[in-house]
Symmetry: C5
Subunit: 362 residues, 5 copies
């Protein structure tokens, strides 16, 4: 996953390069995150299984589609646009699909082409330390009995799935490439729950901190988390449409059996989207709480100031009055003048305290 | 029902365990709340009725579906995933349905499978003492002439229904498993009104308290209630879809007669959802009221401070002036200088009081 | 109409009693508002007309449906659930419809049953004195050539309609029970305009009051009106669906001719709903205005305090300086020291006044 | 156009009168704005043209529908409900349509009747001086080859159109009554742009004023403009439906050719609605700006106060200290005590200035 | 691109001129931005290519539609309404389409006419210096094998496309006028990403600035950016409908092949609209942050003031007390009175510091 700041600039720059190009041009818009592109090749059916780490250059030569096998190319690293274009030639992929694979700023979407389905989605990562969210573009091209998946970085999201294929665990070996596509999307979606959990923890921490001490950092933290949730929403919300799109496909690449699983996935996506909205509402409520807390404290501070001022400023007037140097001030020569004044002052103070008490100022 | 804090962490942990698993894996994501799973078994038709407390291990052996009877397994406790898987085998339930039964973080939903309908919903509980909302997952699997219901805890939500079945009260004996499913959902929904009532009472208390004294706890209370309402919304709002989903079923497990009752239930759900939204709006309005109250008080406090300062600070200047030790200050030797000054001060005070009166500062 | 506070508690209590019951149980959830249930019975067609005040107990005996007549039972008072159940038996009304009639907490709705249509709506009342809104449940059951209407209290909403029927004024005599149902709903809807008008007047009063003097009561009043508008919305908004529902009826109880009138009614409902939303927006804007006004005043108050303090505190320092009792303070013995100081102070004051003037503080 | 305040009360009163009446009663709910109702009668086809100012009483006698002519009655003044009822009789207009014509509080709408189309809309006027919006009800009844238009006041909105008919300019002569209806609606819609422009100018003025000096009037102005925009929205937004309604007409009174123009009109309405929403958002943003400005100034004011107080209050303490009359205060008799103290004070002031500088308080 | 302020006024004036006109009148509503209208004429098919800079006056004479060629008139400058009307005559364009071409205040839209499709959209430009957004109207009329594009200013948006046509790069030569229309829209849409990027940079700058120092300019900047985003939304959001409209065309001017590209374009538009909404949310959050920052500082300022006042005002009272000139004040003659008092004062100060420490005021 990538550091948020530097990454943003790289994306902007690459995106700009792309804008001048004609539609269908394959331009990598992300930041190069891996030295060398890695390709895992798996071919399997219910009984057989082969695995290979493929060399970049040798793809075209020997891996044409093989009947009765499901083929899966699991590519990590997207910067090698030539490679992507080669995939395009071998598997006859539409240029717009190739363009979308390389575009890491792509909004999650599902596109149906005459001979395949292009799915792009985003894996999210939340760093509890810095409370920064980052995302990684994942592209899945589902063809007839083959699937090519692209990940932006080396974080091997799909290792578990490969393991299941190897060990013949679960349904993935028995079912075709469409179920595999579902399984990959399921892995990405499951990670959202982790992210959401981290956010929940962060919200709870901030909430506790506000009620303990509304200090300066907190408001920045609330603001930052809000921004991160906007990013999360942009990454997750379009997935509803994506997963829902499988029901509206006009080709029959996806079996009814897999559609049952995809509907379950849609429920998950709806739930996560729901949670994101809920946490955005919570963050707004947190900001309200923060402002209330500040207002409340301000009130308290001002009450202290006012009580002190209201009590002592009038007293100060009296001491000033009898500190004057007029030649004739009769009270000054009264024998008990000083004590009379002290008594009057005492009464004033008590009166004011009673007044503030009644006003519930302390 | 479970304590909110500890429970959250348990859920998170269990959920995480689940995320690594393949789809359809039956993983309990809640917190174990009962020692021993309890199963009530009822079989009945209009004329006959049998009841049994079933032992965990003996299910598979003797309770295969029986024609002309409605069978109801009322399970309390969800942590025994093996039991759930056994149910799955006996009644031929889809693995995704089994997964949803055990997942206590499940959003309320309705899923149709070839031979059954899976309904999951949430029973809410509001503790007026702590003003905390908690929920309990309820799963209902409706098959052909049988129904299995799962509750998370020992709170026996469905005791009333069992009693009605026993005593032949109401329609539940005459009608089939679909009506029973309706009756169970109705019980859960009716409880929402109680929760909403408690919230209404809490809102009224806070409202009264703000107008009496906008103290520190109140803003926390408003914030907490807001959070609880977010939870309530997430639990209740999806029910609209769930109940509406019965109208769109493709199999004919639910009779037209029961659909009339389900439409009535949908009206209830819509009303409760409406109320939740209304109370959220009210809580926002309460927060506005709280802030206004604080602002208003601040204004009052500042006016008192300003009046006192404006009156006494200038007077203090004069007393200071004639308290100076210059060798030659002519006024000091005027015979009535002191009284002249007192008069001038009196006029100043009256002038200021008139000014503040005109500005409506008191 | 009922007093808001006491009434709420009664409703809650009655509602709770109901929740334990099975679906279709007829339980009165309101507060008993009339001593004795009153029933007006009217039977009429274009040429004939009969009217009777019916005794509670004698209904069943003699008023079975009569061909070629429109029958209208106008019932005031809903607490007599036995009576409602008798109506149910005589006219063969579905138990869920009977339950809805007696439930005064019912959300406005339209339900179609095989042999009739159940409409429930709410008559609103706004007390300009206390600015409290209250509502009364109105239930209309429209059967084949008969109509039963229920009002919660003695306020005779439908007196005008009965008068029109008596005097053969308007279309109501010529047309059937469906037009009568429309006429009753029209009466209830027309009253909404009155309520809205009262709210508009209240808003104008508050608006004027804020700009004159933003005192403490106003913020409570804005808050209260907001709450009342939430109630109004909950009562009025569902009516859109209700009236729209007539277009989707599957039986032919409502003629095309009456549908034209019902569409006109829908326009009214849409307009009122619109107005309710508008006034809610206005109340939010009023709250903003109130807060601005408070902020503005606070600014003014603080400016006064700051001006006074900034002018006199430094002056006070100088008077203090020369009020010290050091044995050697050279200035004190200058012949015109006092006047020099006065001049310096004058210059300082003028300088500050010029500074504040430039800052537009007064 | 009418003055907002007085007008509102008149409307309320007239509306109330109407509410007691039966549906279809023709009651004028506005404020009488013209002495005498004026009727322009035009009959024309592509080659011929006749114009007449018709007397109120003589309509019925001679102007029955004439084949091969388009007839247009352009009525200014709506208070003469008898006249409207006469139109109803001559042209066989549905009573609900007549009711809507006379109801000046009518929400813009389109109603289709068996033999005609009733359109009601609102012409807006914005007075830049008082920044008040006012509206005038316009009703158009489009029959088979005839059209009756009603305006509330004497402002002759349709003079341009009559002129075009007279001079055979544009398409209006060649095309039928349906195109004429379009042309009239187009005139009303075009005026919305003028209103929106005026609002835009007002917003720009307020914006500039806030940044120059956030004085008291501004917040009232923002609030007022918001209210006016709510009125504008209520007047304009329903027009979308109205114009869209032409596409869903079941009779064939409107030709496909005119529908092209009506779709263009719909685009205009959508654009204006858009603009109204945009300006409402801008006004909300203006209010935020105003509050920020106030807060910012408050901060500045408080900083000045705090700086002055923090510098001089401690200094004042020292002068007070050495102004005390204790018999033995050693410092007072130090030869350079006074100058030592002055130096210490100077250091304190410099220290504080440095501290405030670092805190960026000035 | 045009300066925002002056431009607005020009638009308003021109728009007003237009409002008096009959529908279909071709009136230029913008501000004249080019001296001389420039027309590039290109005709091409897969093998041939001709280019010409056409003189205004000579269009009609020689460029009638030519079979087997795609014709493209690329017009820069819109003020010459006679020219537009001539295009209308030669290519038989509907008057409403001509009106829309000349109206630079036009909302983006797609209109289908019997023999052509009219598309209007807006090219956005963001000036990072002044942070002002400006837009330029772009109109595209797509006929059968020809296309006319109009740009408001001299900024040659379509130079790249012309270059591609010339050099036979990309698909544009092989495909027809419909693909060309897509390509032009794609160019305009791609520029939105640049604008959005600039806005993102501006937001980041403001965010950093607030956290460093919440000064006066910032709140104006936030407000301005919000306004600009409103403009962006108004320009971009309707494009969804425009691009979506191609799927609903009833004529077959656009091939299925091009529709695939247009769907890709729609995804881009959806993404940009999404981003605009996200940045609006961010700006609202920024405003909240700004207010929090101000509140927070105010709190700090007030705490300083209160601490200073609370410590020194009571001390000042004591110094005043013993500065009085009563003849008999016993403490004054105590030998160590002065030191006793200093000690008491010291204790008071320490007590207060402890109190403030406990309250976390510093």
């Amino acid at each position: 996953m990538k550091p948020s700041k530097h990454n943003k600039q790289a994306r902007r720059d690459n995106k700009r390069k792309k804008l001048g190009q004609q539609p269908g041009a394959v331009v990598f818009t992300g930041e190069r995150k891996v030295e060398e592109v890695k390709i895992h090749y798996l071919e399997f059916n219910e009984s057989t299984f082969n695995e290979q780490e493929v060399d970049n250059r040798s793809i075209t030569s020997f891996h044409a589609p093989i009947p009765e096998y499901t083929q899966w190319y699991d590519v990590r690293g997207m910067h090698d646009t030539e490679l992507i274009e080669e995939f395009g030639k071998v598997f006859n992929i539409h240029p717009l699909a190739l363009e979308d694979i390389a575009d890491t700023t792509q909004r999650p979407k599902l596109d149906e082409y005459p001979n395949g389905i292009m799915i792009s989605l985003r894996a999210l990562h939340f760093d509890q330390e810095t409370r920064k969210m980052s995302y990684e573009q994942v592209a899945i091209y589902l063809g007839d009995a083959f699937l090519v998946s692209f990940q932006e970085s080396e974080t091997d999201l799909f290792a578990d799935i490969r393991q299941r294929v190897r060990e013949e665990k679960g349904r993935v070996r028995k079912k075709g490439a469409d179920y595999l596509a579902y399984a990959l999307m399921d892995v990405v979606t499951d990670r959202y729950y982790l992210v959401i959990d981290e956010v929940e923890i962060a919200i709870e921490q901030i909430e506790a901190a506000i009620l303990k001490d509304a200090d300066r950092e907190l408001k920045g933290q609330i603001h930052d988390l809000k921004q991160e949730m906007l990013l999360a929403r942009r990454s997750i919300a379009p997935l509803r449409e994506v997963v829902g799109g499988f029901d509206r496909l006009s080709n029959n690449m996806v079996t009814d059996d897999t559609l049952v699983y995809l509907r379950d996935l849609r429920d998950h996506v709806v739930q996560v989207t729901d949670l994101v909205e809920t946490y955005r509402d919570m963050l707004n409520s947190l900001h309200d709480l923060y402002l209330s807390e500040l207002s409340f404290r301000m009130n308290n501070v001002m009450q202290v100031l006012t009580i002190i001022s209201t009590i002592f400023i009038p007293l100060g007037f009296f001491t000033g009055l009898y500190g004057m140097n007029f030649e004739y001030i009769p009270e000054l020569s009264w024998p008990n003048g000083y004590f009379y004044l002290l008594s009057i002052m005492g009464v004033m103070v008590l009166g004011m305290l009673w007044y503030f008490q009644r006003k519930k100022w302390f």
